[in-house]
């Protein structure tokens, strides 16, 4: 029995609107609201895990395409949906305890579930205007969540994020309008068919440029990254985990990749553009992160760098497909990029959750005022070490495998200098995380931190869950797991514009 796809959007939306009613009953209502919200995210995780390997096209309202809107679950969508569900379940579990220090908790939970609903809808959408609407739902919810604490820094960061994010969304809407004007349809499969049968005229090329800029602002690629170093530190820790772990990946990288590979078709110039953007992000993010003394700001710059890896891998795959037409080399590069996407979602969100637990225990984010917390907070220290080892790329953790695949793919396609830059940036990542470990956990315990205690309850469960996933995700390369989870996603991207024929065929069958 296949799961009807609107469930992924309807469950968080309905729960988001039930929570203010439930939370209006006083203290018991707030506890009930937290339980309901956690139930929603855990059930989404179960549904996402059970929908792997079953691609389907769902026509909403029984209107067949191109008259109606369809929702598509193919390999790439199910991979990203799984990553979103894992991170949102862990972050919601963490925030059950962490958000006690803020007021208006039912509103926070509603906004969180709205953001999850927006991301799910974007990943499953088969129609380009529907993608824009869910992009806006998730973005608006995240602007409100970044400024949730209403302190000085949070409001400034929220305003900056909001202005840049709105400009990005407007670029995307302008691109959608141009695409509709030139092809006459809003359905991604039909747009793709129309573009393949005619060449890219000036309007469509301009629309492609607008899409790259708009989604690049959402993904925080390097010329457009100015909002990320302010927004991620100021947000509450589970929201930073969601923003850095899944939001920039679904709103930015997934949407960009879907539009460029499946709708427009990747050419040599676009492939080079993605490779250059990825390289710039990697190098700039790593250099800027080494000099930071605020823990969360360092993690935010490190996110920019790691998203550069993902875009580099996928861009390299596209470039190889367009230039050499060698599908084996291209699918290796795309496999590295997509695997790195999923890995980064898990370990970066774990790092932000540990920074949240450190902030709740010590009250500060500055590296210089922490130290020697290894004995006082053992579980936080262990999970932070696991996540740092994974992000640096130490075997057998998951980060090592994805970086190795990227280096092998670059060397195999004779891009030696790209491989050299990947290794160099990994060394920079090693430096920054050694700095974190030394200043936070080793060294002397300052006077005012003698009484810190380990975090309790749901925060520990969430961190340990993500740490176990970090350790075990390397097993995703085992052939049987790889073929069910990772390979279908790679096939969707290397198939490129045959997406349209597949979707039309699958929708006729229903």
């Amino acid at each position: 029995m296949s799961i009807p796809l609107p469930v992924f959007v309807a469950v968080p939306l309905v729960m988001a609107f039930l929570l203010p009613i439930a939370g209006g009953f006083g203290k018991k209502g707030k506890a009930l609201a937290t339980v309901l919200a956690n139930l929603a995210t855990v059930s989404l995780l179960v549904l996402a895990a059970s929908s792997i390997g079953r691609p389907q096209v769902y026509q909403v309202g029984r209107w067949s395409i191109p008259l109606g809107i369809n929702m598509v679950l193919d390999g790439l969508s199910s991979l990203v949906l799984l990553a979103v569900s894992i991170v949102s379940a862990a972050a919601m579990l963490f925030s059950a305890r962490y958000m006690e220090q803020y007021t208006a908790k039912p509103k926070y939970l509603s906004l969180f579930l709205l953001m999850v609903a927006g991301m799910n809808g974007l990943v499953l959408s088969g129609d380009v205007f529907n993608l824009f609407v869910f992009l806006e739902i998730a973005s608006l919810a995240s602007y409100a969540l970044v400024g949730f604490g209403c302190e000085h820094e949070e409001l400034e960061a929220a305003f900056k994020y909001m202005v840049l994010g709105s400009i990005g969304s407007l670029f995307v809407l302008f691109g959608v309008a141009l695409v509709y004007g030139n092809t006459g349809s809003l359905n991604m499969a039909y747009i793709s068919k129309a573009i393949q049968s005619s060449q890219l005229n000036a309007g469509l090329s301009f629309a492609l440029a607008l899409f790259i800029v708009g989604f690049g602002i959402k993904a925080a690629l390097v010329p457009f990254h100015a909002w990320l170093p302010d927004a991620h530190p100021s947000a509450p820790a589970p929201i930073s985990a969601m923003l850095s772990g899944v939001l920039i990946k679904t709103l930015g990288v997934y949407a960009l990749v879907r539009i460029v590979f499946n709708v427009f078709g990747v050419s040599i110039q676009i492939g080079w553009l993605l490779v250059v953007l990825g390289l710039l992000s990697m190098v700039a993010g790593a250099f800027l992160a080494i000099g930071q003394w605020d823990f969360k700001r360092l993690l935010a710059y490190s996110s920019i760098s790691q998203i550069g890896y993902v875009v580099l891998g996928i861009g390299l795959g596209g470039l190889i497909m367009a230039k050499y037409n060698n599908l084996a080399w291209a699918s290796l590069a795309i496999l590295g990029g997509l695997f790195h996407l999923v890995n980064h979602a898990v370990y970066k969100s774990l790092l932000f959750l540990t920074s949240g637990s450190l902030q709740m225990a010590t009250g500060t984010r500055q590296l210089r005022s922490m130290g020697g917390l290894a004995e006082r907070m053992p579980v936080t220290r262990a999970t932070c070490t696991v996540a740092s080892a994974a992000i640096v790329g130490i075997p057998p953790f998951s980060g090592f495998w994805s970086k190795l695949i990227l280096v092998i793919a670059a060397v195999q396609a004779h891009f030696y200098w790209v491989a050299a830059i990947i290794v160099f940036v990994s060394l920079c990542t090693l430096i920054m995380y050694l700095k974190v470990q030394r200043y936070v956990f080793l060294g002397e315990l300052p006077e005012n931190l003698r009484q810190t205690q380990e975090s309790r309850g749901s925060m520990l469960v969430a961190m340990v869950f993500l740490a176990c996933l970090c350790a075990l995700m390397g097993l995703l390369l085992v052939p049987s797991l790889r073929e069910t989870i990772l390979e279908p996603a790679v096939k969707v991207l290397t198939g490129g514009v045959s997406y349209s024929a597949d979707i039309i065929r699958m929708s006729m069958k229903v």
Binding site: P6, P20, G61, R62
Partner: protein, 153 residues
């Protein structure tokens, strides 16, 4: 926020009913004439904004407080979701299905009772948008121009 003079108060208490009725008309006839849920909801909210300008914020807040408006807002959204989910009773592949029109075909085109579930969705959206815009304007009206803010609990 203080109210205005006696003339404004008298006239606006007569006019607000007309505006509210006009908003309901735009919502219900949304499938026949331009308008629909969103535009009608904005007009419904603006009748309350007229009250707020004429009588002062505290008067309106006693009448329809933020908590009640928030609950109305959620009820509107849940009603919309319920209408969409009822379509699932006709098969798993029919979320948002206009079941009243396609299965039962009651009413004829261009009459009020036609087009299936579209008027019901319009009513739910009108309720939600009206309540939300009212909450937004009520919450933004606590700002005082000299930089301090009215204390609200």
């Amino acid at each position: 926020m203080k109210g205005m003079t006696v003339i404004v108060k008298t006239i606006s208490s007569w006019v607000k009913v007309l505006i509210f009725l006009f908003g309901i008309y735009i919502v219900i006839f949304g499938h026949l004439t331009p308008g629909g849920g969103f535009a009608g909801g904005v007009i419904l909210a603006s009748s309350y904004v007229l009250l707020m300008l004429a009588f002062g914020r505290e008067f309106v807040e006693k009448n329809l407080s933020l908590g009640v408006a928030s609950k109305l807002d959620c009820v509107g959204a849940l009603l919309f979701a319920a209408i969409a989910l009822f379509g699932m009773a006709y098969g798993a592949a029919s979320f948002f299905y206009n079941f009243l029109q396609q299965q039962y075909q009651y009413g004829q085109p261009l009459k009020l009772a036609s087009a299936g579930t579209i008027p019901l969705s319009n009513i739910a959206i009108g309720l939600k948008v009206g309540a939300s815009l009212f909450m937004v304007i009520l919450a933004l009206s606590t700002f005082r121009p000299n930089g301090s803010v009215e204390q609200k609990e």
